[in-house]
């Protein structure tokens, strides 16, 4: 059952009691997190704190061992699997929910055998079955928006990292997603290219898009996000508005984390 995502009472993303282990290592120890529509969440934490895993569990690139993922009021159906871990119950549902979540990866992951425009229209045409003309029109508008309209027919390997990441953002936006998920989108970039990607992300935030951003960019977390979530060893240590968190966080670890 799908509940309209426009009603303010239904969170865009709801994570309840999320658990995940890789072998003997417990990466997520029961995470509860809610993102309302229009919110920009910056998810911070040291490497190994589980922030990327949490993001990847939301669109089921990692299968949670336990807990619930609810996207716009729709719970991802899980069933019990071996070793007490849960499994995806309905692949079709997962595929549909994934198409409603735009994912941006640390290493861009553009399809190397397709040009920029082909990358962007691929899923709208083949997954969402939209018309080619419409998909191309929208793709060109998105390319203009992220500032690489002139790279339309280039292959990813012919672009700089910053241009590739902006193309990847356009690709995610082309699905008209309800929520954008960013997994360390600037961590693989040369320092001088970080700015152009952050500018695009900031403009998306200003449009009122719902965004979950795993990042190390403190400036983005402080200036752009509506909430900062700090993870430590697979649990949420503290969360709050950037003002609260950066001015007077209760967590000693967070204060240490931001002071470097």
């Amino acid at each position: 059952m799908t509940v309209s995502s426009n009603s303010p009472s239904v969170p865009a993303i709801e994570v309840r009691g999320l658990r995940k282990s890789f072998g003997p290592v417990e990466v997520l120890k029961g995470i509860d997190l809610t993102a309302h529509e229009g919110e920009v969440l910056s998810i911070l934490g040291a490497s190994g704190s589980g922030k990327s895993t949490m993001l990847r569990c939301i669109n089921m690139l990692e299968t949670p061992d336990g807990g619930d993922i609810v996207v716009a009021g729709e719970k991802v159906a899980m069933k019990p699997g071996p070793h007490g871990k849960s499994r995806v119950a309905d692949r079709g549902q997962v595929q549909r929910i994934r198409s409603e979540l735009g994912m941006v990866f640390q290493s861009f992951n553009l399809w190397s055998h397709k040009t920029v425009i082909e990358n962007i229209i691929e899923a709208p045409i083949h997954v969402q079955k939209r018309s080619r003309t419409e998909a191309i029109e929208e793709a060109e508008a998105l390319l203009a928006k992220v500032g690489i309209a002139d790279k339309r027919n280039h292959y990813p390997s012919h672009l700089s990292g910053g241009q590739q990441q902006r193309a990847a953002i356009a690709r995610a936006l082309a699905m008209r997603p309800k929520v954008m998920l960013f997994d360390e989108p600037t961590s693989a970039l040369d320092p001088e290219l970080v700015g152009e990607v952050l500018r695009v992300m900031r403009s998306l935030a200003e449009e009122g898009r719902t965004m979950l951003v795993v990042t190390h960019e403190m400036g983005f977390a402080r200036d752009v996000s509506s909430r900062v979530v700090f993870l430590h060893q697979g649990a949420i240590e503290e969360q709050g508005t950037p003002q609260e968190m950066f001015a007077n966080a209760k967590s000693e670890r967070f204060r240490k984390f931001i002071s470097g």
Partner: protein, 241 residues
């Protein structure tokens, strides 16, 4: 040099070229399909399938093609059940026996080449496809396979060349392809050098065309691995104006 004889030999042998090409093309085409299935078995992670494919590859790569041809053409006919089966009309025909042997053999080699191609596909690109909501089959068809083919093509062209040459073994089971006709011609004229030189030249010519063809396909499939085309004169002129 007896040029008139060489020329006559060439005309006789070239008449058998269509059969050689047909043998090679059929074996390669069916072999490729079988190879894709075997490669998928190998990487499926399902142990019985993996073992089956491993065993198959071990047997067909590890034993001589000539022995395989003999076993299929002469060997299978020994069994009453085979002679009375619905497949007998195929298995009693030397042409189809040769095609089957070549196909089964090339599939074993090609399976490992395709497996290498599939394993070379960057995991991140597959993950990006899944995160767009593609089904596993669509991910395979739209992303994994096209990338794997591009990666496997250079090695696969080796296997295709081998197959063209391997068709000459079919002459052993009475098939009158280029080598078969050449052998017959030698038994009639006793001029082994001239006849085999001409036969060898025909195989060289086939493989020359084949390698150029593969190179062309490779070129067309990999614009992303080249430098972007320099601005054409027209574009430059347009910008100046």
């Amino acid at each position: 040099m007896d040029f008139p004889f060489l020329y006559e030999t060439f005309l006789t042998l070239i008449a058998a070229l269509p059969l050689t090409l047909q043998l090679a093309a059929t074996a390669i085409a069916f072999g490729a399909i079988l190879a894709l299935g075997l490669a998928l078995c190998r990487i499926s992670g399902i142990l019985p399938l993996d073992w089956f494919a491993r065993l198959y590859i071990f047997i067909f790569r590890g034993s001589p093609l000539l022995v395989q041809i003999f076993l299929i053409y002469y060997g299978l006919g020994q069994f009453r059940e085979v002679r009375h089966s619905m497949f007998w009309f195929i298995l009693r025909d030397p042409y189809w026996c040769a095609v089957i042997a070549l196909m089964l053999n090339t599939a074993a080699y090609a399976a490992e080449i395709i497996r290498g191609g599939l394993l070379s596909v960057p995991h991140g690109q597959v993950e990006a496809a899944r995160s767009c909501g593609m089904s596993p089959f669509m991910v395979f068809r739209r992303i994994t396979l096209p990338l794997a083919v591009r990666q496997a093509l250079p090695a696969y062209s080796n296997e295709m060349i081998s197959m063209v040459k391997a068709t000459s073994l079919a002459s052993i089971i009475t098939i009158m392809e280029v080598t078969g006709v050449a052998a017959k011609l030698i038994s009639e004229t006793f001029r082994a050098i001239e006849v085999f030189v001409v036969a060898g030249f025909i195989y060289l010519a086939i493989n020359f065309v084949l390698t150029r063809l593969v190179a062309f396909v490779e070129y067309r499939l990999s614009p992303h691995m080249r430098q972007p085309a320099p601005l054409s004169a027209a574009t430059v002129a347009g910008e100046i104006r």
